[in-house]
């Protein structure tokens, strides 16, 4: 589904990713872990298409399409969706409007008609309840005045409604207390399916107690230096990152 090959990325002249390769098949849940500054957020930013990241070598393909040639919105319309670490506040744009416009943009890209209003509301209500969110969220401006936990839940709400093929979650656990973490994890787990893949980027193992990954990768200094199953995360939790760093340097 997603294939990243030998990706080199520089930010303001400094090389951050130094030959990263990663393959994700549909149905899989991957977790990328690593110390601060390893390039975790850079990877998801490049896949989403954020400005300021220069790809100097390597490729990213999603279902056979060259992601780096796609506009930001085309990536989303194709089913590549990013959940932000710090969701942006968008004053004056109501949540309900964003949800509807986003869903319809995706449908239009697939050559489908706009979603009928009753069907849309049914969908939204169901997902709101799942994320334990009040319907007043719909009327509020996107993320404006939301607490950290509300913002994260809102990101997952968007995922549940837009049903991406590949959901990328950047530090989705940061700033969450345990109750909010459970709600967010429930939301993410409900996305798991044979047709869908999930890529989580996280600093802490804690999240992986709630969302069990199929594969865990350790990102150090711009490269994936070790990959393994979910037990790798536990090992990182107990032993820290240093041993992986040393092992990879050796």
């Amino acid at each position: 589904m997603l294939e990243v090959k030998d990706l080199h990325v520089t930010v303001e002249g400094k090389e951050i990713l130094k030959g990263l390769s990663l393959t994700i098949q549909s149905g899989e849940v991957h977790a990328i872990m690593g110390p601060n500054g390893a390039g975790k957020s850079t990877l998801s930013a490049v896949i989403a298409g954020k400005d300021g990241y220069e790809v100097t070598a390597g490729t990213i393909t999603f279902e056979g399409r060259d992601v780096l040639e796609m506009e930001i919105e085309e990536r989303a319309q194709a089913g590549l969706l990013m959940g932000f670490q710090y969701p942006v506040e968008i004053p004056g744009v109501k949540n309900i409007y964003l949800l509807k416009a986003a869903l319809n943009a995706q449908r239009e890209a697939r050559g489908e008609n706009e979603i009928p209003a009753p069907e849309f509301m049914k969908l939204v209500k169901e997902k709101l309840a799942y994320m334990k969110m009040d319907s007043s969220f719909l009327q509020r401006a996107v993320n404006e005045g939301f607490s950290g936990g509300e913002k994260k839940r809102n990101e997952i709400l968007q995922m549940l409604i837009l049903e991406p093929k590949l959901a990328m979650l950047d530090e989705i656990d940061s700033g969450l207390d345990i109750d909010a973490m459970k709600i967010v994890a429930d939301g993410v787990n409900s996305l798991r399916s044979a047709e869908r893949a999930i890529l989580m980027v996280t600093h802490y193992q804690r999240l992986l107690d709630y969302i069990t990954p199929d594969k865990v990768h350790v990102l150090v200094d711009g490269r994936i230096v070790k990959s393994g199953g979910k037990e790798l995360a536990l090992e990182l939790e107990s032993r820290g990152y240093e041993w992986v760093v040393e092992e990879s340097a050796a």
């Binding site: 989403a48 298409g49 954020k50 400005d51 506009e71 930001i72 919105e73 990536r75 989303a76 319309q77 969706l81 990013m82 932000f84 969701p87 942006v88 506040e89 968008i90 004053p91 004056g92 744009v93 109501k94 309900i96 409007y97 964003l98 509807k100 416009a101 986003a102 319809n104 943009a105 995706q106 890209a109 706009e114 209003a117 849309f120 509301m121 939204v124 209500k125 709101l128 309840a129 334990k132 969110m133 009040d134 319907s135 007043s136 969220f137 719909l138 009327q139 401006a141 996107v142 607490s147 936990g149 509300e150 839940r153 968007q158 837009l162 969450l176 207390d177 109750d179 909010a180 709600i183």
Partner: protein, 460 residues
């Protein structure tokens, strides 16, 4: 020949061609002409006109229209689509009975062209006209007084509530040679009367005319007036407007000043809060692109204690457009316990767009609550990116955010027809903005269980 002289010659020629007028009208015309000649067109040396160059007007050669022909089909396309309206239409300043519709006028309300109001009701109308906006107000007011022949007179008897909006529509034609018009608008709102008046400037895309309107509104005790100045003038038009409002006790005046069109636009809006309980609310949105120049000057005089004013203007400037906002609030001595808030926020969509903003407060009383502020910024690129990552194309994302910037002002606009015109001008056609309220209501009604869960967990 000076620029002023060429306008005065035009005036003389018009006078010679016109039927004899009552002496008092002729005298008023003469006073206007004399004052205009003495003042001359404003220059950038005049503090009030520092940022606005009027040479496109002063050096122009404008004839006066001699007919009000306009195809009804074309007029209908330009007319604001309201469910119902009481409408007076002027074509290049001349009244068009054919394009007007007064059928919905309730008892107690009079809406008529100025020419008719003057011939039927000389003293009542003529005595009031110019009382607020005299020839000293500005050179353009003097010029208007000299030339003015037509306009709209709206009178509401005490207690009259007009629920249907009253639209005064000014159509500008693409003439072979540019024309000018100097309409007057007079609104007399009797005690406890209530109405919405929309001055709508619109026309053929290729027009390049000069329109110079002077409007006056008198609000007696408890009167409520909502006034729209909706400017969708053709992009070649030159538009100078003023509205002065005289407010009695407990009266409430709300202004929506929406500028979307015109090559050169200057608006002066003045409210005199003359008695306790009077309130003025000024909401403004100006959107300019290309090389449009839009200048909004406002003034609120708190002449009495316990008066309230609240002003919020939003400017959006693209390309090489230039905007001016000058908002002045004056609190007279002894006008205690007043509240005055003023803010102007501007959004620059291009590096070459420009805004000059100047909020001014002059306070001569000591027990008042006042605030003012101005900000200027650009679109939040992070937000543009965030919207695009949800699949919205860049143009829609930018349009949506631009419109959202105007939200604080546009949320106050209760006429959907106006909101839609703004949306189309500012953001292009956005998908289904107007069907959302219903959706949310449905969700709110049927969402009791989620609400409870949500409240327990708000800070999660």
């Amino acid at each position: 020949m000076s620029e002023e002289q060429s306008f005065l010659e035009r005036l003389q020629a018009r006078g010679a061609a016109r039927h004899a007028e009552p002496t008092w009208i002729a005298a008023r015309r003469q006073a206007g002409a004399a004052r205009f000649e003495a003042l001359g067109f404003p220059t950038k040396r005049d503090e009030q006109w520092k940022y606005t160059d009027v040479r496109r007007i002063s050096q122009g050669n404008f004839a006066l229209a001699d007919n009000a022909d306009f195809s009804p089909g074309q007029a209908a396309a330009l007319t604001l689509p309201l469910a119902a309206a009481i409408r007076l239409t002027f074509v290049d300043g001349l009244f068009s009975a054919e394009l007007s519709d007064l059928a919905a006028l309730p008892a107690g309300a009079t809406v008529e062209p100025l020419s008719q109001a003057l011939s039927d009701n000389h003293e009542a109308v003529g005595g009031v006209l110019g009382r607020l906006t005299g020839v000293d107000f500005s050179p353009f007011a003097a010029l208007n007084t000299a030339f003015s022949e037509e306009g709209a007179v709206i009178r509401l008897a005490p207690g009259t509530v007009v629920e249907t909006p009253i639209v005064v529509q000014f159509l500008s034609r693409a003439n072979a040679a540019p024309v000018m018009s100097h309409p007057r608008v007079l609104i007399q709102a009797g005690a406890r009367s209530e109405a919405t008046v929309i001055e709508h400037f619109v026309g053929e895309a290729d027009a390049g005319n000069f329109t110079n309107v002077v409007a006056e509104a008198l609000l007696e005790r408890g009167a409520i007036l909502t006034h729209y100045n909706l400017q969708e003038a053709p992009l070649g038009d030159l538009l100078v407007t003023s509205l002065q409002v005289d407010q009695g006790r407990d009266s409430r005046f709300t202004s929506f000043n929406v500028n979307l069109g015109g090559a050169l636009v200057r608006n002066d809006l003045v409210s005199e809060l003359n008695a306790e309980g009077a309130e003025a609310h000024f909401y403004g949105l100006f959107y300019a692109q290309g090389r449009q120049h839009v200048d909004n000057h406002t003034l609120v005089n708190h002449n009495a204690p316990h008066t309230i004013s609240n002003e919020n203007y939003k400017g959006i400037l693209d390309d090489r457009a230039r905007g001016v906002f000058n908002g002045k609030v004056i609190v007279k001595r002894d006008s205690q316990k007043i509240e005055a808030d003023q803010s102007n926020a501007n959004l620059l969509l291009s590096d070459r767009a420009e805004i000059d903003t100047k909020p001014e407060l002059e306070i001569y009383a000591d027990d008042v609550k006042c605030s003012h502020g101005a900000t200027t910024g650009q679109l939040d690129e992070e937000a543009v990116f965030a919207l695009r990552t949800r699949g919205l194309d860049e143009q829609t994302a930018r349009g949506l955010l631009t419109l959202a910037f105007a939200g604080e002002v546009m949320d106050r606009v209760t006429l959907d027809a106006v909101a839609e015109r703004v949306e189309r001008a500012v953001a292009g056609k956005l998908p289904e903005r107007f069907n959302l309220t219903g959706l949310v209501e449905v969700a709110t009604l049927e969402q009791g269980h989620a609400k409870e869960a949500g409240e327990h967990d708000r800070d999660g």
